[in-house]
Structures are given as structure tokens and as C-alpha cells.
């Protein structure tokens, strides 16, 4: 490549020299004086400088000086100069010729650079346009790599997407997967113009979201960086779209589930009303005795229990769909604990309830019905999972801004990995499923009610002391 360039330059010097000799000879035949001949030669040198460059123009200018000396400086037809003025003229000619050559060479170089830049900008613009039209869907990396290669006319492209760890290649790019990913992990950009190889980190802000390697290209580093930025935006756009689509699908699925729960719960209400109106009506008539009365009482209580379960489902559906209205008022925690214990008295199954209140009266802003439901649920949970006959301790502690209510039972243990999950709907811990009856709804209702009150719910558990559920509620209103 270099010898070709030297050959080309040599040919141009030869052609230029021939032209200089010819122009000098013609000027001599036309009887030009020294100054006229110098001007004509200067024009030739300037033209060569503009067209071919500095080296060619410099060589030709030296030959022009020799020709002028030969044909126009006295004594004529010898390479010798008598007059000092002629020396000055020749010297000035050479200086001006070299200056013009240098300047024109610089102008030419800048023009070529600008042209190259414009072409690269055009390609980048085209790339950005085509990226915008890229369809959402699978394998965005591959489509992106193909697009970069075809638009920027590079030898090969390798692109790694750090979101889903996909690596795509196209064209001729003999880099290992590790080499492509290395740019992202090392967080460094590299260029090797000798072999036309560039590595770029795909960044969004300060976050690295992948890497891009271009092989066999002649692009300048800033164009490669611009292409990498465009690729990063395209990957991020695709990622956001896919995240949004997933969130939308999850939301729709949740709404559907809520609608089904709501519909089911309401469908249960009519037969339940008939059963409860009949059973409670029979009890109110007071005409039954002995076994009949006991059985009707059992039906009535179980129907009430079934109604409570249905209400839980309804409440969960409302909490999921955001349709629950919390009607807050000032509630005395001690009073509410007492009424919750009373509501559970039939179901306590031999467990003693030990209520430990803080010295002062604890008041919270809460929805009385919802709050009681949460407490009943915690008590029911403690009865189910506590060891038979063991006491259940309910405690109240006052913080500066919130009131903590704890419900502790003995004899059950929830492993650390399951403590968050027990609050998820339909989740039943590995130790409880099969051993105890339950729906997996109760604790999720507790958590959601607590959160609807801007409070928190969590559980502490150890194999020796048992399990303690804690809920907090704000002492003062933080907006209704």
C-alpha cells in the first residue's frame, strides 16, 4: 500500500516536472522576461499544490527554479546566476511556491476531512432513523447488529445486551464472547485504528447496559461512540417496552383475579343469606330443644364463619383493585383488642389470652371494622399454629408516632426465608400446609389492611420462643 502511494507520488512529480520544463521552454520561445516566466511557473506550482499536495508541489517548485535559472537568469543556458537580484527573485519564488503549497495542502486536507465527516454523519443519521423504525419483539440485539453493519458499512459487529445476557454477531468479527463482554465489565472504550477495531461500553447515563464491538471499520472514534449511544438507546427502549408490557399483563391478570374473587364472593352471599336467615330464624323462634337446637346452632355458626371467609375474599379483591375505602376514626386499641378477643371466644380452642397493655391509653386513627378484622385474623392464626393449650399473648407498645400491637403464640416456627412470603396471598408455609386447615388468605389481609392504614406488618420467629406477629398503626392521622 505504501509503495503504491510512493509510486503514485513519483509519477505525479515526474508529470509535474515535465509540465514545468515545458512551460519554461514555451515561455522562453514566447520571449517572456524573468518576472513573467516566474509568474507562469508560480501558477503551475499552485495548481499542482491544490490538485496533488505538498510533496509534489515542492518537488516541482525546485525544478521550476532550475528552469527559470536556465532559461531566464543571466548568463542564459547555464545553471549559474550572476546577479544577486536574480538570486532574490528565485529565492522568493521558491518560498512563495512552498507557502502556497502548504496552505493549499491544508485546505485540501480539511475539505477531505469535512467530506468524510459528513458522510459518517449521514450514516449515523440513517442509523438513528432505522433504529426508530425497529419493531418491538424478540432478539433486538441481532436486529440491531445487522442494522449497524449494513448502515455503517463495517466489516463485522458484535453486540452484548446486559439486560438479558444475549450476544449477537454479524459479518466478519473474530472476537470471543468474553472479549465482547469485557468492555462492559471493564467499563472502558478502546480503539485500534491499525486493524479497524473498536470496543464501546453501551451506557445509559452512568449505567452500563451492554457492549458493542466494531471490526474492520474506518470510522473515527467519535462516530463509533455515537453509534454506541444510539444502540444503547435502542436497547433501553426495547427493555422499557418489555418491562411495561409485563407490568401491564400482571396488572390485567390481577384485575381479572380480583373480578373473579368479587363475583364468586357475591355469588355466595345469596345462598348464605337464605341459610343464615333460616338458621337464625329457627333459633329466634325458640321452639327447638336438645339435639335439634344444637345442630341449628352449629349450622348458624358455620354459616357465619363461611360469611367471614367470603368477606375476606371480597376484601382482598377490593384491596387488590384499590377499591377499598378506609373510613378512619379515633379508636381505642385496648377496647378493640377486647372486642376482637370476644369475637374469637368460640374459636379459642382452649388457648388462654394474655393481654398486656401499655400504661397509657393507646389511640390510633383506624377503620374500626378493618382493624378488628386484622386482629381477629392474627388471633385465629395464633390459635391454629400455637401448640395445644398454650397461652396467646397480645401486647401493645407505644412509639412516638405509631402503636405496635404484637400477637405471640408458642410452639410454631417460621424459617427466615418464609417470613416475607407468609404475607403473600395463597402462600402456606412448608410446615403448615397439610398440617393445619387454612386458605392462605388471612395474613395477606392483615398486611393489606395494615398498609391501607400506612402501618407495617412483620413476623419474628424462633424455635424456642415461638412466633410473634407485629402490626403498627399511626397514632396520628397522616391524611384520610
Amino acid at each position: 500500500m505504501i509503495s503504491k502511494s510512493i509510486r503514485k507520488t513519483s509519477l505525479r512529480i515526474a508529470a509535474g516536472s515535465g509540465a514545468a520544463v515545458l512551460v519554461a521552454f514555451l515561455s522562453y520561445r514566447a520571449d517572456f522576461n524573468l518576472s513573467s516566466a516566474t509568474s507562469v511557473q508560480l501558477c503551475l506550482v499552485a495548481a499542482i499544490a491544490l490538485r496533488w499536495g505538498l510533496i509534489e508541489a515542492s518537488a516541482v517548485s525546485l525544478l521550476s527554479v532550475v528552469c527559470i535559472d536556465f532559461f531566464f537568469a543571466k548568463p542564459l543556458f547555464v545553471f549559474f546566476v550572476n546577479d544577486a537580484h536574480d538570486w532574490i527573485a528565485l529565492g522568493t519564488f521558491e518560498t512563495v511556491a512552498i507557502l502556497i503549497s502548504t496552505l493549499s495542502n491544508q485546505v485540501g486536507h480539511h475539505a477531505r476531512e469535512a467530506e468524510k465527516r459528513q458522510a459518517q454523519l449521514q450514516k449515523l443519521y440513517e442509523l438513528s432513523e432505522r433504529l426508530l423504525l425497529l419493531d418491538h419483539g424478540e432478539a433486538v440485539e441481532q436486529r440491531l447488529a445487522n442494522l449497524i453493519q449494513s448502515t455503517l458499512n463495517v466489516g463485522g459487529v458484535a453486540l452484548w445486551n446486559a439486560y438479558d445476557f444475549n450476544l449477537a454477531r454479524c459479518g466478519d468479527c473474530n472476537l470471543s464472547d468474553q472479549e465482547v463482554r469485557a468492555a462492559c465489565f471493564a467499563n472502558t472504550n478502546e480503539d485500534d485504528p491499525a486493524v479497524g477495531l473498536s470496543h464501546r461500553v453501551l451506557r445509559l447515563g452512568t449505567r452500563a447496559i451492554g457492549s458493542l464491538s466494531l471490526c474492520g471499520h474506518t470510522l473515527d472514534p467519535s462516530s463509533v461512540s455515537a453509534a454506541a449511544s444510539l444502540a444503547a438507546i435502542a436497547i433501553e427502549r426495547e427493555h422499557s417496552f418489555s418491562t411495561k408490557a409485563t407490568a401491564e399483563a400482571a396488572k390485567q391478570s390481577e384485575q381479572l383475579r380480583s373480578a373473579i374473587l368479587d363475583g364468586l364472593a357475591h355469588a355466595f352471599k345469596s345462598p348464605l343469606t337464605t341459610i343464615m336467615a333460616s338458621s337464625s330464624g329457627l333459633l329466634a323462634m325458640n321452639t327447638l330443644a336438645g339435639t335439634e337446637k344444637k345442630l341449628i346452632d352449629l349450622i348458624d355458626r358455620q354459616a357465619t364463619h363461611l360469611n367471614d371467609l367470603t368477606n375476606h375474599l371480597l376484601l382482598t379483591a377490593k384491596l387488590d383493585s384499590g377499591g377499598l375505602k378506609v373510613s378512619r376514626e379515633e379508636v381505642d386499641v385496648a377496647q378493640l383488642i377486647q372486642s376482637s378477643v370476644d369475637a374469637c371466644s368460640y374459636e379459642l380452642d382452649g388457648h388462654a389470652i394474655d393481654v398486656r397493655l401499655a400504661g397509657l391509653q393507646s389511640m390510633v386513627w383506624a377503620d374500626r371494622k378493618l382493624f378488628q378484622l386484622a386482629l381477629v385474623q392474627l388471633l385465629d392464626n395464633a390459635v391454629k399454629y400455637g401448640s395445644p393449650g398454650s397461652p396467646i399473648a397480645i401486647g401493645v407498645q407505644q412509639g412516638r408516632e405509631e402503636v405496635l400491637i404484637t400477637v405471640k403464640n408458642e410452639g410454631s416456627f417460621i424459617p427466615a426465608g418464609e417470613r416475607e412470603k407468609v404475607f403473600q396471598r395463597f402462600y402456606r408455609s412448608s410446615g403448615s400446609s397439610g398440617a393445619t386447615s387454612g386458605t392462605g388468605i388471612g395474613l395477606s389481609v392483615v398486611k393489606r389492611i395494615t398498609e391501607a392504614h400506612e402501618g407495617r406488618a412483620w413476623v419474628n420467629s424462633d424455635p424456642v420462643n415461638g412466633t410473634t406477629f407485629v402490626i403498627t398503626l399511626p397514632r396520628v392521622a397522616r391524611g384520610a
Binding site: H266, S270, T274, I275, G281, R328, V331, A480
Partner: protein, 238 residues
């Protein structure tokens, strides 16, 4: 002398519920009529002089709310108790605004239902049998004595000073004693039509009233909360 049975019209599209109410209310001392929709109910009301109507909110045809509106317009002397599966919902509030006297949420214990029915029948009979000299201006309940005309409230003989808004709220509740009064109704009556959404105002006033009237404001016995609906002032013999 045999006491005359109260006549109750049960309007309910679900046959099972209607039948169980017919049997149980009948056995508990009510004379029960049945209708499966609003249109049929209006027809029966023309023929029989009922003491109360038990009306399901969700029914085919004209629906419970429209039936309630028409019954209240044609027979204002007959109290209507709404049956609903959704407590705290807007249609309960709307029914109360349309003239319903009370509501019961399904499923219910029959004792609760009969207590509500007897209370509304008694209230309406007292109103229609009372002196025609005008509305009651002196109201006594528990330890409280309220003279609306003279804007005077006493507790165990000791006068309680109420702010104007507190008094107006109390008056609105007393005028509807025994009946749930929706938040919007109270706000519109006391503050004006543009304030129906300002529940915080109402909550503050109710808290103030409870502080002044109740022995223990956290366990109110006079001003009772109707969850998601509004408030109810205790009736004299509740």
C-alpha cells in the same frame, strides 16, 4: 286483646331468601307479603296497607333504588329498609338519600333484621300518631336533653355549650334519630351544597361533639358510626 301484627312486604328476587324471610318473619310475629321485583311491589302496596317494606337493592326490572324512590314518593308513611350485599357502597347512601329509612347487609341474623324493622315501624307510627302541632323541638335521650328551638343542650341537667356548626350537625342527626345519615347529607345540610366531599370537616365536628356529649368518646353511645355510610343518633329507647 290480641296485638295486631305488623305487615311487612318483602321485595326480593332470590326465591330462597324470599321464602326464608316469609317463613321466619311470619313465625316471629309479622304478617308477610312477597314481591319478586319493584313493579310487583308497587302493585301490592296499592292493595295492602303495609307497615314496612323490606327492599332488595339489586333486582331485575326497575331495581331497588328506583322502587325505593317511587314508594317513598307515593307512600311516605311507609318506612323502607334496604337489603344489600355491599355495605358501605354508594347505592346504600343513594337509597338513604332517596328516602329509605335504614339498611341491612346480607347475610344477616334474623334478630338484627327484626330489630331494625320494629324500630322503623315504631318510629314512623310515632311520627304519624304524634301531635300535628309541628316537629318535636325537645328531645331527651339517656342523660341528654336537647331543646332545638332554644338551641340548648344539657347533660345530666348541666348545660353544654356547642359551637354553631356543632349544633347544626347535632340537630340534623337528631331530626333523623335512629336512622343512618350519610356523610354527604350532613355536609350539605350543615355546610352547604358545595361541601359534600369535605369529610374531614365532619370528622372534626363529630369528634368535638363526642368529647362534649359522650362519657367516653372512644365508646360512643349517642353518636354512632355507620361504617362507610355516615352517622346515626341513638334512638330514645335503643
Amino acid at each position: 286483646m290480641m296485638e295486631q301484627k305488623s305487615k311487612v312486604l318483602v321485595v326480593e328476587d332470590d326465591t330462597g331468601i324470599r321464602q326464608s324471610l316469609f317463613e321466619t318473619l311470619g313465625a316471629l310475629g309479622f304478617a308477610v307479603g312477597e314481591a319478586s321485583n319493584g313493579e310487583e311491589a308497587l302493585l301490592r302496596l296499592r292493595m295492602v296497607d303495609y307497615n314496612a317494606v323490606l327492599l332488595d337493592i339489586a333486582m331485575p326490572g326497575m331495581g331497588g333504588k328506583e322502587a325505593c324512590r317511587r314508594i317513598h314518593r307515593s307512600y311516605p308513611q311507609i318506612p323502607v329498609v334496604m337489603l344489600t350485599v355491599r355495605d358501605g357502597e354508594d347505592d346504600v347512601v343513594e337509597s338513604l338519600e332517596l328516602g329509605a329509612s335504614d339498611y341491612v347487609t346480607k347475610p344477616f341474623q334474623i334478630r338484627e333484621l327484626t330489630a331494625r324493622l320494629r324500630a322503623v315501624i315504631r318510629r314512623h307510627q310515632a311520627l304519624s300518631a304524634g301531635p300535628s302541632a309541628g316537629p318535636v323541638t325537645v328531645f331527651a335521650v339517656g342523660d341528654l336533653s336537647l331543646d332545638i328551638a332554644h338551641r340548648r343542650v344539657e347533660k345530666r341537667g348541666k348545660e353544654i355549650i356547642l359551637a354553631p356548626k356543632e349544633f347544626e350537625t347535632l340537630r340534623c342527626l337528631i331530626e333523623n334519630a335512629g336512622r343512618p345519615v350519610p356523610h354527604q347529607h350532613l355536609l350539605k345540610s350543615v355546610w352547604g351544597p358545595h361541601y359534600s366531599g369535605e369529610r374531614e370537616y365532619l370528622r372534626t365536628i363529630i369528634n368535638q361533639l363526642r368529647k362534649k356529649l359522650e362519657d367516653d368518646r372512644t365508646r360512643p353511645v349517642y353518636i354512632l358510626t355507620e361504617s362507610h355510610i355516615g352517622y346515626r343518633f341513638r334512638e330514645n329507647d335503643e
